[in-house]
Amino acid sequence: MNVALGDASVVIAFTASVIASIALLVALRTGDAQLRRSGIRVAWLVVIGSIVSFVMLERALITRDFTTRFVFENGSSRTPALYNFSTAWAALEGTIVLWGLVLGGYLAVVLTKFRDRVADPLVTWAIVVMLAVCTFFFALMLGPADPFQRVTLPADFIDGPGPNPLLQNHPLMAAHPPLLYLGYVGFTVPFAFAVAALVTGRVGEGWLVETRRWTLFAWGFLTLGIVAGAWWSYDVLGWGGYWGWDPVENVSFLPWLTGTAYLHSVMIQERRGMLRVWNLSLLCSTFALTILGTFITRSGVLESVHAFSEGAVGPLFLGFFGFVSAVVIGLIAWRGDRLRAPGRIDSPLSREGAFLANNLVFAMFAFVILLGTVFPLIVEALRDERISVGVPYFERMTMPVGMVMLFLMAVAPVLPWRKASGELLRKRLEWPAWMGIAAMVLAVLLGGRGLTPMIAFGLAGFAGGAALRQIALATRRSGWRGLVGRTNGGMIVHLGVILVAVAFAASNSYLRQSEFTLEQGESVVFADMNLRFDGLEIDDRPEKIVTAALIDIDGETLRPAINQFVVGITIGTPDTAGSFTRDTQVALIALPDSSSVVIRVTVQPLISWLWIGGVLVAVGTVFSAFPHRLHRRPIDPVSAPAGAVEEPLRS
């Protein structure tokens, strides 16, 4: 039943998206309102199909229906309930179903929110674009990524293999893909409106500005997804790492970068109607990069601990990426003449100038990461040599970019529009600069050394001061309302990012790691701590045998363990002692074969602030979505329409 209904729902969703797109396209051409309404109704079938397919997949998993291929290959009666639910996205086919569900959800919200404006060709085109994306994903579900094939169970079948044990040992791993997908898929909506605006030629009406809240929503979830992934990595991997500049991590980061640049740059378009080409390019790049990211994760072209290569799907994603890129470049080139801004940037020392610099910095950041990630492929193709581009490259290259970003974060919020003077800047930046100095002095007093992290702390203090200054001014003027609204929420997001930056700099620069072999009862001193091996603890569970070493660190006992799963895989689980100032993580390197254990100890300062900063970013995003004022003031500026002439002042 699961297979039948699941297959049926996918077929319905696919056919509905094709029919609806065609109907809407014809309605656009002929202006037939009746046909358009029918098309919208059929589009709702896509939504229903996406929901039913996901429900059927989960139902098959929960009832352990092993006659369904996906459950046969990934499910197990031994898997605990939560992880069984998340098994839906533990393998390729299920993740495509999840993508379809989220896409259906966003489509439903678009159809609802814009139902009164469907007569507008721009909205119709946007829906057509969304349906086109749906068509691609449901076609994948019909063909190479079909979870619903029927399987005849072999006579000696006892139980399925269950998901990869690495995906079962932490609740964040269950949450990570849905959060990421809410982000990635969410960018489809503003992308659809961007393409619609280009196709209809109505690029000056603020359509991109209207969809800004959608972009913010998607961006917030993408940030949460990335932070969740980092947190999970840190908790389970065993070497204190949370970001490894791994190819899959890098390509998941690229849409975040272009999305962040877009969120900033669109403010310039809103205020002065400028940087339209930048905004359209950034937005469309964000969507294209999510497709590229999926390709790299699924194709196995780049070696990665995350990459689970599945033959046929990879090339299809690459093809889709190429198609999207071609369409976008073509559209922007075609409409180029309509995208010229009516205004100019008067001075580089202005908010417009800072945001333009911001765009450039983010673009460079994304370019460097992309280059480093694919460079081994380039070298292999052109020189037939094998090289590696790893952590040392990315750290050295992204560090200056990060510094420049912190500097811009400090200066941009205090820059006025159009033109600033040196005196104004000196006045406004005074106490943020003092905060930067204070941060550095504090770091030095706490024992921190090293030129690079010190500069990072100084710039972080500087940027933090600018953000706090903005919030202080706003709350002084409007009370608690000074915390919400785009600018103020944005400052809270900046504070979160600054915390993450400081934690990143500190934990990387002051990391201490070493390996020790200890006999029972033996102790060793490392990083001002006393570590003692107190013995082993063995726990025999139905799905795994857990061998834990009891390590006493200054009174606190940690239990790093090695898990031997019944299915034959062995995975280590580290244990961490964390505080606000520093984290100590201990991992058991191998199964102890005599009376001694080999452990790896990693000590890093300020790790907790990575997660606190991440949560603060999420909070700031929510605050940012609330309106600062309920009604627009009459003197608020609005987007200059294309071609407007500025009247000179008359008395």
Binding site: S309, G314, L318, G322, G336, A381
Partner: protein, 181 residues
């Protein structure tokens, strides 16, 4: 302003097309860990106590052909190739072609069981083999090397199903210029 926009668009389109082409033509799922650096170089030192309790030293085998086989008991390919190695060892029991095995990532007990189960009496080094793995650039099992009488490594086989006795013999034939032996 039309011309520069078209030029930029054209350049971008070409760059992305090139990028897509690069990704489309790159091999997927290949393991970049396998290397053939050792081929052509003089075989690094290889010595130690064998399972049988004797001493083995590669340097003393100069003048003989030596086949070095890296194995582990958990490795499926090693199990598949082991009978072939038994055949090969039998063929060359009394001539100047020698076979030696080096364990990789396993325990002595399991190695003893492995040989007891599948046969074979050639020297097998099981202790302190870490530096041998590094010197020989071994990254997985099974890996098999052919060392010429001169002491130079002339051939390396990697592959999930290991080597066959015929492959080894053919390689020795070719390398000795078809003179046999």
């Amino acid at each position: 302003m039309r011309r520069p926009a078209l030029v930029v668009a054209g350049v971008l389109a070409l760059a992305i097309a090139g990028f897509v082409l690069l990704l489309a033509t790159s091999e997927t799922g290949r393991s970049s860990s396998v290397n053939f650096e050792i081929v052509g170089k003089v075989a690094p030192p290889l010595s130690g106590e064998t399972l049988a309790g004797e001493q083995f030293d590669l340097f003393e085998e100069r003048g003989n052909w030596v086949v070095i086989n890296f194995f582990a008991s958990w490795c499926v390919g090693c199990r598949v190739e082991h009978p072939e190695l038994v055949t090969f060892a039998d063929r060359h029991e009394d001539d100047n072609v020698k076979l030696v095995a080096v364990m990789f990532g396993d325990t002595e007990e399991r190695a003893i069981e492995f040989f007891a189960e599948l046969g074979g009496e050639w020297p097998a080094l099981v202790e302190d083999t870490g530096s041998i793995h590094i010197d020989y650039g071994v990254t997985g099992v099974p890996e098999t090397l052919l060392v010429a009488p001169s002491g130079r490594v002339i051939r390396k086989w990697v592959g999930s199903s290991g080597v066959t006795a015929d492959e080894l013999d053919a390689a020795i034939e070719t390398a000795s210029g078809g003179d046999g032996d």
